[in-house]
Chain length 378, copies 4
């Protein structure tokens, strides 16, 4: 039967059935899709997408531990840490207070979904010194010490990577953002390895400066307490991500990469981090076509953004000028630029065009200087 | 200073600052917006948007009770019931097993957000008789009885509205969907008032038929265990809603309306329910312009859909024919239709055009017959 | 047959058919939906959504005139002007050069769709004096004069509303944005009535200042040459709209309203215009609940944004403070704010809370000061 | 200066400026982004995304020819044909009737944007024989013949690829869909090479059957007359695409591929075409992980969809069963499936799992049978 007869005879009944089939079908499709976050790998390293700061009902969060795994899977992450507070368990009347429990409950889901689950905890003190995440610990209950330095030491003795959380947090640094002597002491003892440049959606410029000055690893984390979508996706606010460049996708490689400072942070469509790493990632993300000459006067190139973050380019037009000189290239799209001043260049010659990536911050007021390499089509 | 100078001098610095301002701003905007679900009211009643079947960590759910309130606020609902299982508490090693606890923990949030929180519980037995929600109870712990009928009776004695949940559920009715003698007994005793026509995304046609035959109130509920967005919004599956037509937005009015069977169900862009109620809601949702005659030959009307659900219309063209004869009008949009056969009608005359609303089911295989009233522009 | 049997027996065949039905259905649904732009009316006036500057293939545009009508219908507009250039007709080798032709070709579609089509033309000169739209003319061909002032006069004699287009346009004002003596002369003769504060997506702050100083009507227009979606919607750039507050939806009322300066402009989620008109529109858009007191300590209000543009509020907290003090309320959503300092206020008392609407500009560097009126719930 | 001080001092002024910067920025960004349509290449061929049936103002379309090029660039296409009607030029009073003119006007834009522009025309007759596109012609004016067969012959003599357009079109085949003797004659003479299986959004099952029986190349085309977004994107209807598997991206390779029948059609998230080609494309699109065994009982795999079209899989569970057995994998996402029955398989062994791809039609009522190859992780 052709569509013609089919259509004439059965339409209304079929439309009704199709509404039901569609509904019925959805009820089977409870399988949650993982939205791949396609940050490219860089030479020698895989790019792991991570969130090192999350909470559950086992401290002051509002979800069961396994939810953090499902969310991570759905959001395209590779690794997370559940970092429930040691010193703050407001649900203690209703929920078990064992500091290792959230990890244990989340682990089976993590293994089933292939998410690296880092055992961790948040040592939670007033400022100074503030809050600190200890990652890669073995037993969180050993961190329950009255004395702050003893708690940190208990983490360090387990080989922990220790990061200072949200140094800019208003509630703890209402008027200024200070580095206290307690932080100097931690650093001197080898007890401070990382710092949050992004917490939730808040950027801490002081943290980015201190990271450079004091050789700390930067991270950017959700610090999520509610279900992730109540805060992050429903209002078009993107979940921050720490990109970790690891030799392979294993907990050991991840840990090495953190200690070796191979991280970048992405939040609100802005990159933060070391200029060499940023340039390498941009180089893997941004694909330039050869210069195509059309007629005798015009030439153009195309630039494709293969990463999941827009790239905001600003060209300083010198000998070679590109137009538009200021443009944003959304993820998965290609831009077309006119090129001037290429006239006397020999075919095949490599042209180096300087460009600022305005949404990549190497320091609080400094955008990444990148060099775009073009070749003239033979 | 004009934009011209402003732009020339400051662009790069300002763009950097604006990226940060934007990020910074978001970090203040933790205030969750309520997405209004603008179903129109109908004459004499306000339209309450409700979900009578949800779970928390206090039974087999994965969120803290207050999350259900925030989700309801965000999703534009007016009333919800947390219906944790009486007989199934898989987190009992880690979480308090008091059957009233989830209600108590959610209540302050409900009051702060203006959500009507119905105290309820799910009596959870194998089939027959299956699972039943008791709504508007006073003390959930009294429902913890070994004998099913005693549990139901304990609910009924508290004035509960009792609904049979998911009668089509595969796990309980794998081969056929049966009404058992236990259900007849419940009905006879006055212990059965409602039935789920939609559970999650699954439509149960038998439930819709039984509701008509046995005078039961229909509901459609999320039965959500995970955070709502892990199942419903992230995959473009809409949360089902029970529309309750109540005299006012109070718990007492809501209860009256449920016992008086003034409900409709919306799921997957399909309406289910009584044809008179459906026609009344469509009448409040669909606004027709007068017939506008253009030139000597052409006439048209516009139809605006003021509800948040698409309306799928199919005209049976008789004397008056409309074109297109089959169309979907998305929410918040207006369609334009050509009209033929109006020629000899006097100005001001009311024209009654029959139309099927294909996505409104009054019975499993029956779409709503509606009469569109048009007037000829003078 | 219940879904169960239905599902077991027919699934694959039905899924195939439903894919085809869905496709088939779409092929009937060529009826274009009008996306309603629900700006509220204000007391005494209907709010007409307008675009007074568009082009077609009859000057340097790229679409047939009827396309501008379909686009206007689809985009929720009430009135447009096709303002093809008098002096610039680059398609003259292939297309008729009659200056009235685009209007004539678009008119039948406008009548069929209920769009008010304003006959107009763009008088197109180098700066000074630049480009000018003449709206509400009777015969565009009379504007084809060598002498600029004669062309303007020919428009004025037809009762035209004359606006200066894009005074900030780089190509005509590369270094500064000047008001020339030609403009003074036009104004003196009564030949200048309006000015574009927004052209495409470009805001011209000088134009907004001059409008206030010289009693000009402000407009904001697309100046679209390509199909509207190639520029405006595909890149998340919203089409600018001139809101005209007219006594009724007729060309005569629209013309009166323009001469009487009852316009506001919306572009890029920012409002521009007179503070009294802006305050009236905000008052119709923003619905505050009464102050709801919860327990003995807490009070809150909700604010619902019924307009299609986000409202960005910033409270200056004095006696009464609201939290968050800085928030954006997206269209169709409700925000919830905590209220402090209300304690000693008697029930029913009206509270006046000052607030800045940050995305409403009354002058280039000035945001609208608005007073939010709250009542304490009895 | 840290964000703290920055924020306290400057917020309101900065927010105002950022609103303007954002608007200003957009006004520079008139550069249209190309949304890449990432269909994977297949071994030996590049996958070209094509539309072989479009119109302009030079026949009964509503856009200037260059618009079709910009739209194609924006929509991620590689090649298009402007196929204006030879016999139907309703704008002839206003527009040049030269049959080659639309090609000539579009060509410079095509070259600048790297779009392959195929010279073509639509020979437009009543049924039988209906409408035919001639692609790759040299001079369209030679096709203006009274006699149909002479027109086709004039195309064939230019080496044209000739396709029968929309054989199912209601206006031409109101009651049945017939293959007429005229079509047999064309085929016999070697004058018929292709057939539209999709025109606009309409699927023609007869065309798909005839293509198989008579060795015709299938295509699916927009047949767009309006601006593309007025019909296709604004109502969530996707533009149909003909996928052509060519040796390289040149007009010659494209032509070879069409004559050699290396095409598939995608419309409304459904694939149509030859089962071997479809299987090859699915194989390039769907990436399966190795089987991962977790604990002693559970195993799972992940499937990633790297194409821009959802894949709807239905497993027939035999020895090896996968759950869910029926699922849709949206573009750019990964699904996770449980695996049963793998227990006795040796590590490294290749497992072949049969699966139906429900949204890939090899014949009107036949979905693609595909074999998913899995390996057991060592």
């Amino acid at each position: 039967m052709g569509m013609k007869q089919f259509h004439t005879t059965f339409t209304k009944a079929i439309v009704l059935i199709c509404y039901i089939v569609q509904a019925q079908f959805h009820s089977q499709a409870q399988n949650i899709a993982r939205q791949e976050l396609n940050f490219p790998d860089i030479p020698g390293f895989v790019t792991l997408k991570c969130d090192f700061h999350t909470h559950t009902v086992f401290s002051d969060g509002a979800v069961w531990p396994s939810v953090r795994i499902t969310e991570a899977w759905r959001d395209g992450l590779d690794a997370i840490c559940i970092s429930d507070h040691i010193e703050y368990q407001p649900h203690h009347k209703d929920v078990n207070t064992d500091h290792n429990r959230s990890y244990e409950l989340a682990l089976p889901a993590a293994q089933r979904m292939g998410i690296l689950l880092i055992r961790g905890a948040e040592i939670t003190r007033s400022m100074p010194p503030g809050h600190f995440n200890a990652l890669f610990i073995k037993d969180a209950s050993l961190l329950a010490k009255d004395d702050f330095m003893e708690a940190i030491q208990a983490a360090a003795e387990q080989g922990a990577f220790i990061q200072w959380n949200h140094p800019c947090w208003d509630a703890q640094q209402p008027d200024t953002v200070r580095w206290f002597e307690e932080h100097t002491r931690l650093l001197a003892k080898g007890y401070l390895h990382g710092i949050e440049v992004i917490n939730e959606t808040q950027y801490c410029p002081e943290a980015q400066r201190w990271a450079v000055e004091k050789n700390l690893t930067i991270t950017g984390n959700s610090d999520i307490h509610d279900p992730i979508d109540l805060f992050y996706h429903s209002q078009h606010i993107k979940r921050p991500v720490t990109l970790v460049f690891a030799r392979e996708k294993t907990e050991a490689s991840l840990k090495d990469a953190l200690f070796e400072r191979r991280t970048l942070v992405v939040s609100g469509d802005v990159y933060y981090g070391d200029s060499a790493l940023l340039a390498t990632l941009v180089s893997s993300s941004l694909k330039a076509s050869p210069v195509m000459v059309y007629g005798q006067k015009e030439a153009f190139i195309t630039l494709t953004n293969r990463s999941p973050v827009p790239l905001h380019l600003q060209f300083s037009n010198n000998e070679i000028s590109l137009s538009p000189s200021d443009l944003v290239i959304p993820p998965g799209t290609t831009a077309r630029l006119q090129l001037n001043g290429y006239a006397n260049l020999p075919a095949g010659k490599l042209i180096a065009v300087p460009v600022h990536i305005l949404n990549a911050f190497t320091l609080p007021e400094t955008s990444l200087k990148y060099v775009l390499k073009l070749t003239l089509n033979p």
